[in-house]
């Protein structure tokens, strides 16, 4: 499904990584690890389609793709470092808004279930600005419950999460992989994931 050949990236003239290769099939996940500044975020942004690699080829479902490619925009769910939350919206509104941006309007029941699973149901009508970092990350990750996308690109999803948050994250990703989804995850913390894992150290 997702294949990378001789990917290389530069930032300001400095080569971050070169000759990165991997191939992922349905139900497989790529775990990307590496020191700070090694280019994990850049690699994930390339996979999600935000950045063009300096050289090399990325292909999705057999077709080579460039940045902002239509097929990737329809297939990928990208949750980056920035949570993409509006401070003035409540958790529920943020969730519904982002889901509506990326697909058909989700129903509120599904959103409420998602918030409950991520332990946010008591905070569902408070503006996001007063929530803690961990709670904001939970809202961002709750998008996984509502997304029906094949490719998940998660950049350090476990940041600021407590143990129960990490457990919910693992549960969600495992369910996605079991449903034949594909995931590319950059992480510092080890995640207990089930299924075929490919590892990439930058």
């Amino acid at each position: 499904m997702l294949r990378a050949e001789r990917l290389a990236a530069q930032r300001g003239g400095v080569t971050l990584f070169a000759n990165v290769e991997f191939a992922l099939d349905c139900g497989e996940a790529l775990i990307v690890t590496g020191a700070n500044g090694s280019g994990k975020t850049t690699l994930l942004r390339i996979v999600a389609g935000l950045t063009q690699p300096h050289s090399g080829q990325l292909s999705w479902r057999g077709e080579s793709i460039a940045a902002f490619d239509r097929s990737v925009r329809a297939a990928a769910l990208y949750i980056g470092h920035a949570a993409a939350l509006k401070d003035d919206f409540t958790a529920e509104e943020n969730l519904l808004s982002l889901a509506a941006l990326h697909g058909p309007a989700p129903d509120r029941v599904a959103a409420a279930n998602a918030l409950r699973e991520w332990s946010l149901d008591h905070h569902h009508d408070i503006p996001a600005r007063v929530l803690s970092q961990g709670q904001r990350r939970r809202i961002a990750l709750a998008r996984m419950n509502l997304a029906r996308r094949r490719l998940w690109v998660l950049d350090e999803p476990a940041t600021a999460l407590d143990a129960s948050g990490v457990a919910t994250l693992e549960k969600r990703v495992n369910a996605h992989l079991a449903a034949q989804g594909v995931a590319v995850i950059a992480t510092h913390k080890p995640l207990a994931l089930v299924g075929t894992m490919r590892r990439l150290e930058l």
Partner: protein, 237 residues
């Protein structure tokens, strides 16, 4: 609850209209909630307009001559003031990335943002302009002409300004750079807008200027979102 929604691989037809509606309603909701920025542009407009009689004296004939120009230039400056923020908040919290990655066409999403921006900043100027025009001795007819010109012109200013705002996203250079980039593009709007009142005063009728302003608006409606979308993608790269 380990059940996950079924993955769907069909690429749905992306809809420009849905994208436009989504971003316009979202931005309007946010503008109303934050309340901080509502009315600031209008206040700025009124203050700048008031500065001119203080600077050149309140002699009625002078004010009448200067009036259309002052009211148009102040509208340009007020528009510039708010434009740098049109993408800034979304850029900072990561929402702009999500917009660029969504299946909806980015130009449509940006058009929605610009529409919301104009409604909260440009439209109040249009509404206030006849009143301010009266301060400069504009007749009632001229006041309506001013409002009509601004009604057609200020959306064009917002559209052009969005290109500049997208190009300068996240740069330290800030507002001054945006002004340098955008003001030359504003010159035709200014000339035809202020010129419409001059022409009416000279008895020539303002239809030529208003038609040109409308043509400029239509051309910008098509072109500016595309250019701004390209600039946003470049800034996100």
């Amino acid at each position: 609850m380990a059940a996950t929604l079924e993955i769907t691989d069909e690429t749905r037809e992306s809809s420009a209209w849905r994208g436009f509606a989504w971003s316009m309603t979202r931005d309007l909701k946010l503008a109303i909630r934050s309340k901080a920025e509502l009315g600031v542009q209008l206040l700025f407009y009124v203050i700048v307009v008031t500065l001119f009689p203080l600077a050149v004296g309140a002699e009625p004939l002078l004010l009448r001559t200067l009036g259309p120009g002052v009211l148009w230039v102040a509208a340009l400056l007020a528009s510039l003031l708010s434009l740098s923020r049109i993408f800034a908040a979304d850029f900072a919290d990561g929402s702009l990335e999500q917009l660029a990655l969504s299946p909806q066409p980015l130009p449509a999403l940006i058009s929605g943002k610009i529409a919301a921006h104009w409604m909260s900043t440009g439209f109040p100027l249009v509404a206030a302009s006849p009143l301010l025009g009266a301060q400069f001795g504009l007749t009632a007819d001229e006041g309506w002409l001013l409002a009509l010109g601004l009604l057609i012109g200020t959306p064009t200013l917002s559209l052009l300004g969005a290109i500049g705002a997208a190009l300068t996203l996240g740069l330290r250079a800030g507002g001054g750079l945006l002004a340098l980039l955008i003001l030359p593009l504003y010159v035709p709007i200014l000339i035809f807008g202020a010129g419409s009142i001059e022409a009416a005063r000279a008895g020539l009728g303002a239809s030529a200027q208003l038609s040109l302003l409308t043509a400029a608006l239509l051309a910008t409606l098509v072109g500016a979102p595309l250019a701004a979308a390209a600039a946003v993608r470049i800034a996100l790269d």
